[in-house]
């Protein structure tokens, strides 16, 4: 996994990106078609909410359109796009936290237990049939902080230092959250 460039990054996307940077909406649509599955998967796993994931995916591509001029091509377009997506999701979460009237901890350890009792349907579970279904559901049930770190580290391949920069927590906290996430997941999957 990780953030290796896809095949199109190597053979054709540069031209598409250049055309999109010049305002060619068809080219941008082609980029959208190429990357939407990965971006949506990222939004779905980070938000654990299928409807919100659609909105976040749209937000990410609109943001990408606005910032295309700043993409210099030093990294693969896919890497730039996925990092931008992570930023969109995390910013939205921070904004939602600020909007929250009640003072609550954003990490809700009870969520995992609720999911184990079947009280929370996994938004992403339906989209990934087969063996991965239980894991997707379990990931969705993780407390938000632990889920973010798990998705970014174990699924998307980010390093703890990068996660720390993206989420604003210390690298040590990221490691602790990952350990917590893995332990919770293992517990859920073993039952």
């Amino acid at each position: 996994m990780g953030l290796e460039p896809s095949r199109s990054d190597r053979v054709g996307v540069t031209d598409l990106v250049r055309r999109a940077q010049q305002g060619d909406r068809d080219a941008f649509q082609a980029l959208y078609r190429e990357h939407v599955g990965r971006v949506y998967a990222l939004c779905l796993r980070l938000s654990a909410d299928a409807v919100r994931a659609e909105e976040l995916t749209q937000d990410a591509f609109v943001r990408a359109w606005e910032r295309l001029a700043s993409f210099s091509g030093e990294s693969a377009f896919s890497s730039w796009m996925y990092r931008l997506t992570v930023n969109v999701v995390l910013q939205e979460r921070r904004a939602a936290r600020r909007r929250s009237v009640r003072v609550v901890t954003t990490d809700d350890p009870a969520a995992a237990e609720r999911a184990e009792r079947g009280e929370q349907g996994g938004a992403g579970g339906d989209a990934t049939p087969g063996l991965s279904l239980d894991l997707e559901r379990a990931v969705n049930a993780l407390p938000p902080g632990a889920r973010e770190v798990f998705v970014l580290h174990d699924i998307e391949g980010y390093r703890h230092e990068e996660i720390a920069r993206l989420t604003g927590v210390a690298a040590g906290t990221s490691k602790a959250q990952l350990f917590r996430a893995r332990r919770l997941l293992r517990g859920m999957l073993e039952r």
Partner: protein, 346 residues
């Protein structure tokens, strides 16, 4: 706290993680919403002098977009959910009833909007989308409710773009009703009431009495007065297949037409064959199923026996697999080479 030692501890979990799909297709096409948002931003960025930078042919869609933007900007004076929709002139002199539409106006339930050979208009469909009314078209507003946005297209051509949950937007025609399942499409009706739909985003259902067709992105379907909707076919379907489907759907050509359909069908035409399955008698159905199964292998849970007795769950299971393949093929056209038998990239 995490590192190689923890990775070893969680080896089984990480093995499962490695099997997770990196890509998940969203359940609906999100591009129309993105396009609408970036179109607004692009227009705002473009500023003055735009007319000099665009060729004349580009001005019609730009005018439609500008009219749409004008409508959106002006809304508020007219109820969004009442029995009135906003309409604006794009070109020429469309009429609402007998009244020429000078700039923008209202289309009320029961009223008719008509364009001549040089006029065009845009209707805002409540809060959920818009309809471009092309030249030589007559369209009526039948219902304007939050759960039922309904137009009747008597003749002419429209382009509809809707971003809403399924089954909120309907266009009635003399040969059937187009039911929006979250989509964009062009619908044309000729002077005797026959229609042709071309879906360019999402899915549309065509209904007429007991006949129903589901048209995915990249497919077309005819409708004929007295018959209802025909079988959908791919944009690039062979002519022989189109002719055979028309004979089957509208000329009662029976077994001969069915066998011509089967002979002409490619894996890309599985959507068509799936529809034919339910439209033929049990003997022919076996031939249709066998051909379909040879082109697109049935997914787990789809049995020959279940399909032949038209078991609803079995057919829907097969349909889900077929439409996903068609969807991937359409949206990744020109980007990835998708195997039409499996939907996987080759």
């Amino acid at each position: 706290m995490t590192g190689p030692e923890n990775d070893a501890e969680f080896r089984d979990l990480l093995a499962l993680v490695a099997k997770l799909p990196t890509s998940i297709e969203p359940p609906r096409d999100l591009w129309p919403g993105i396009e609408a948002r970036i179109a607004g931003r692009r227009e705002a960025r473009t500023g003055k002098g735009w007319a000099r930078r665009f060729p004349r042919w580009a001005l019609v869609p730009l005018a439609a977009a500008a009219a749409l933007a004008l409508l959106l900007a002006r809304r508020g004076g007219v109820s969004r959910h009442g029995a009135v929709w906003e309409v604006t002139r794009v070109a020429g002199l469309p009429r609402v009833g007998a009244t020429p539409l000078a700039a923008t106006g209202a289309l009320r339930v029961g009223e008719r909007l008509e364009t001549d050979d040089s006029s065009r208009a845009v209707i805002l469909v409540g809060d959920i989308g818009h309809v471009e009314v092309r030249p030589d078209t007559r369209i009526r507003l039948i219902r304007a409710q939050r759960t039922d946005h309904r137009l009747a297209l008597d003749r002419g051509e429209i382009y509809a773009k809707v971003d809403a949950p399924p089954r909120l937007f309907f266009v009635e025609t003399p040969a059937g009703t187009a039911v929006d399942l979250g989509c964009a499409y062009t619908l044309a009706v000729d002077s005797i009431g026959n229609g042709l739909i071309h879906v360019t985003g999402g899915y549309v259902e065509l209904d007429r009495e007991n006949r129903r067709s589901i048209i995915p992105l990249g497919f077309l379907a005819e409708m004929r007065r007295g018959f209802g909707p025909g079988t959908p076919y791919a944009e690039d379907a062979p002519d022989a297949l189109r002719r055979a489907l028309a004979a089957l759907d509208f000329a009662d050509a029976g077994a001969v037409a069915v066998r011509q359909v089967l002979a002409a069908a490619r894996p890309e035409d599985a959507v068509s064959l799936w529809h034919v399955l339910g439209r033929v008698d049990p003997v022919l159905r076996q031939e249709v199923y066998d051909r379909l199964a040879s082109l697109v292998p049935p997914p787990a849970g789809v049995t020959r026996e279940g399909a032949l007795r038209l078991d609803r769950a079995v057919l829907e299971n097969y349909w889900t697999a077929i439409r996903r393949i068609a969807w991937r093929k359409a949206i990744l056209k020109g980007i990835r080479d998708i195997d039409p038998r499996t939907g996987r990239a080759r």
